[in-house]
């Protein structure tokens, strides 16, 4: 009887201690360690306890419900061998510590030539961290942060640190501190990523010669903040609805010789914000319905704006603290399309307006002096403020486009609305021409 009791007691300890957890962790790490170079590890639909360190080139493939859960200390997965491939995993619970020697991530890559795709990341400080790692492919991953309410306590979706020649594509990043943060990272290619609800969708420091194409930045505090970085190419990206206080679609700060072409800047507080930036080319971009289309500080020189569509912004372009030197609003005889705000004639039908477009405003002084000015950018009162200052001679020239583009916009809808409105008005007039007073009252009484 004693033996049976002792057996049952020892057996029950297994249930209490849940040894399978540690065994699973040891098993997966042991299993990875025991694999040969180039092996393929297929994981089941279950939760594996991390953390893991991969020291051999291999492929790890999960399935829909495969989760690697970190222990909350350090990186969940550290890749320390080249040519590792991770795919179809959910990775969570890295260290969130900001006091440690290094910043942790769900997946931290220290080596070259790795491929990380179809990974879901949550509850981690950084999402995927490339640390001096080159020629990696990071694609089709979903990284979820903790939202805008928590900026300082979390890291970035993709952290690219001293890493070159990487391809980052088709990733979805939401609610992290910065969507993608680059520092000292050159010659990377960033395509078709979708970044929303972050501080800066893209944050760039000391990184040159990278290309961005077809990325979408929405509802961030700032779409893309490019600082101290040169020779970047941004094409066909969308900067939409970066709308908050002091927000912008694209900020260039001490960034030079960048090529920004065919992008959409739509409904941002400021579409493009330039400060201490030089020799940047803005070509064929659509800058529409922003509160300020282009905010250009005096420290920014030699910008070229050509063939852009800069329309329906509350303020098309504001030069703050004076005009920079050498800024050109046309190139090779082609200026920009300023929309219906600047009516133009084109008698010779060459697509270029017959006279230059000059825009004057007094808002620059308020913007320079008082940050709360941004609260009034959508107010109808600002129009009166501008008119009043124009009368008093306080306006200053913001830009002159010598070769403004004339575009014929097809807009049938306003005509349709006008017809309907006229029809409605006629109906009321005809039907009730002797009793108009009952429209707003009179209790239906004829007069």
């Amino acid at each position: 009887m004693k033996k049976v009791t002792l057996f049952l007691f020892i057996f029950s300890l297994f249930f209490i201690m849940k040894p399978e957890k540690n065994m699973a962790a040891e098993n997966l790490q042991q299993r990875i360690d025991s694999m040969k170079e180039g092996a393929v590890v297929k994981l089941q639909d279950r939760t594996y306890e991390g953390n893991l360190v991969i020291r051999k080139s291999m492929t790890i493939i999960g399935s829909k419900n495969t989760v690697i859960k970190g222990n909350g200390h350090g990186n969940v997965i550290s890749i320390k061998a080249p040519h590792v491939k991770l795919s179809h995993l959910t990775v969570e619970h890295s260290s969130m510590s900001r006091d440690s020697e290094e910043e942790y991530a769900a997946i931290k890559v220290y080596t070259n030539g790795n491929t990380i795709d179809h990974i879901k990341i949550r509850n981690s400080f950084h999402g995927i961290y490339l640390s001096q790692a080159h020629h990696n492919t990071i694609s089709d991953n979903e990284i979820h942060g903790m939202g805008k309410g928590e900026i300082a306590g979390q890291g970035n979706g993709l952290q690219i640190y001293y890493s070159n020649h990487n391809l980052l594509s088709h990733n979805t990043i939401e609610g992290t501190r910065d969507g993608m943060f680059f520092t000292y990272a050159n010659n990377n290619k960033i395509d078709e990523n979708h970044i929303s609800n972050t501080r800066y969708g893209l944050h760039y420091m000391y990184s040159d010669q990278n290309t961005f194409k077809n990325n979408i930045f929405t509802m961030n505090i700032g779409g893309a903040a490019i600082m101290n970085s040169n020779h970047l190419t941004l094409t066909k990206n969308q900067f939409i609805f970066n709308y908050g206080n002091q927000s912008f679609g694209l900020l260039l700060l001490q960034a030079n010789d960048n090529h920004i072409e065919n992008n959409i800047f739509y409904m941002n507080q400021r579409g493009i914000y330039l400060d201490q930036a030089t020799r940047n080319l803005f070509q064929k971009n659509k800058i529409m319905q922003n509160q300020i289309g282009i905010e250009l500080w005096a420290s920014s020189n030699q910008q070229t704006f050509t063939q852009n569509q800069i329309v329906e912004n509350n303020f098309p372009a504001i030069a703050v603290a004076g005009q920079g030197t050498g800024n050109a609003w046309s190139k090779n005889g082609k200026g920009n399309d300023w929309g219906s705000s600047f009516p133009l004639t084109d008698l010779n039908q060459d697509g270029i307006g017959d006279f230059p477009v000059t825009y004057q405003s007094s808002l620059h002084q308020l913007i320079e002096d008082q940050e709360l000015t941004s609260l009034f950018l959508k107010s109808p009162a600002i129009t009166i403020y501008e008119k009043m200052n124009a009368l008093l001679g306080h306006n200053e020239k913001m830009f002159t486009d010598r070769y403004p583009l004339v575009t014929k916009t097809k807009s049938h809808l306003p005509l349709y609305i006008v017809i309907v409105l006229i029809g409605l008005a006629l109906l009321i007039l005809i039907k009730g021409r002797h009793r108009l007073c009952i429209t707003f009252g009179r209790n239906g009484k004829k007069i």
């Binding site: 939409i240 609805f241 908050g244 002091q246 940050e371 609260l375 009034f376 600002i382 009179r442």
Partner: protein, 265 residues
């Protein structure tokens, strides 16, 4: 209930309410047509913000007129005198009349935006919470200007006075209030920013707009400077509640204190 029924029947006979609602419906549909091109991400929010920016041109002035003429016709038809000589005093009359106005204006307005939601579903991914915030914003905007309209109708003696007063109120909130604030903006500092904030949010258009944009999550106050933090010393929802309470009470009190029982016409 009698007041609501009476208001309903009067508005059925008159065309003011239906004309106003048809304008709102027309604007909503035209914005929807324009926004079908917004198939890109967040198009739903873009549409609602654009729609709100268009509707604030119309809803305040329409509600001012509806509210004012509704009260004024009670004077014209001598029904006000009749009501007041029975059991009602002006306070209770105005209270019941205001409730009736809210009901009669908001019911078709909300019904329209419910129908409108069905159209939206064909084009966008719907955020239910965002849409609720939008509809609530429109409803609150209508309520505050209806009450102001009722106030105008209470103290005005003629239709021309009503038109003048309504246009003045609309013009003030639409242009003058912010213009005055813009004029004092260079003098705003950390010491007086709270007063500036109070004055800013005294404008129902700004209070509702801020509530809408933050409520939908499109306007962020992240990384605020000290000045801005002092400016936004409470949540936008509280600013809006304060604004509503202030204008509803002030309009009600002015209407009671300065009301006239009969019009000239």
């Amino acid at each position: 209930m009698h007041y609501i029924w009476k208001e309903w029947k009067e508005n059925l006979r008159g065309k003011g309410l239906w004309l106003s609602l048809s304008i709102i419906a027309l604007i909503s549909v035209s914005i929807l047509f324009r926004s079908t091109a917004l198939s890109f991400d967040k198009g739903f929010y873009v549409l609602l913000i654009n729609l709100f920016d268009s509707l604030i041109y119309f809803i305040p002035i329409l509600c001012l007129f509806i509210g004012a003429f509704s009260i004024f016709q009670e004077k014209e038809q001598k029904t006000l005198i009749m009501l007041l000589t029975k059991k009602d005093n002006y306070q209770s009359f105005l209270w019941k009349k205001s409730l009736a106005l809210y009901t009669i204006v908001l019911a078709p307005l909300l019904a329209w935006f419910f129908v409108y939601l069905a159209f939206l579903k064909f084009n966008f991914v719907i955020d239910g919470k965002g849409y609720l915030v939008f509809v609530l914003s429109i409803a609150l905007l209508a309520i505050v200007f209806l009450q102001m309209g009722a106030c105008i109708g209470s103290f005005c003696r003629s239709r021309m006075q009503i038109v003048g007063a309504a246009v003045f109120v609309w013009f003030y909130f639409f242009f003058m209030h912010d213009f005055i604030l813009l004029s004092v903006l260079p003098n705003v500092s950390a010491d007086n920013v709270i007063w500036f904030s109070l004055a800013y949010f005294l404008n129902p258009l700004e209070a509702v707009r801020m509530f809408l944009e933050t409520g939908m999550g499109v306007y962020s106050f992240g990384h605020m400077s000290n000045l801005l933090q002092a400016f936004m010393w409470t949540k936008p929802a509280y600013f809006l509640i304060g604004n509503l309470a202030f204008w509803l009470i002030v309009s009600y009190l002015i209407a009671i204190l300065f009301h006239r029982k009969e019009g000239n016409e």
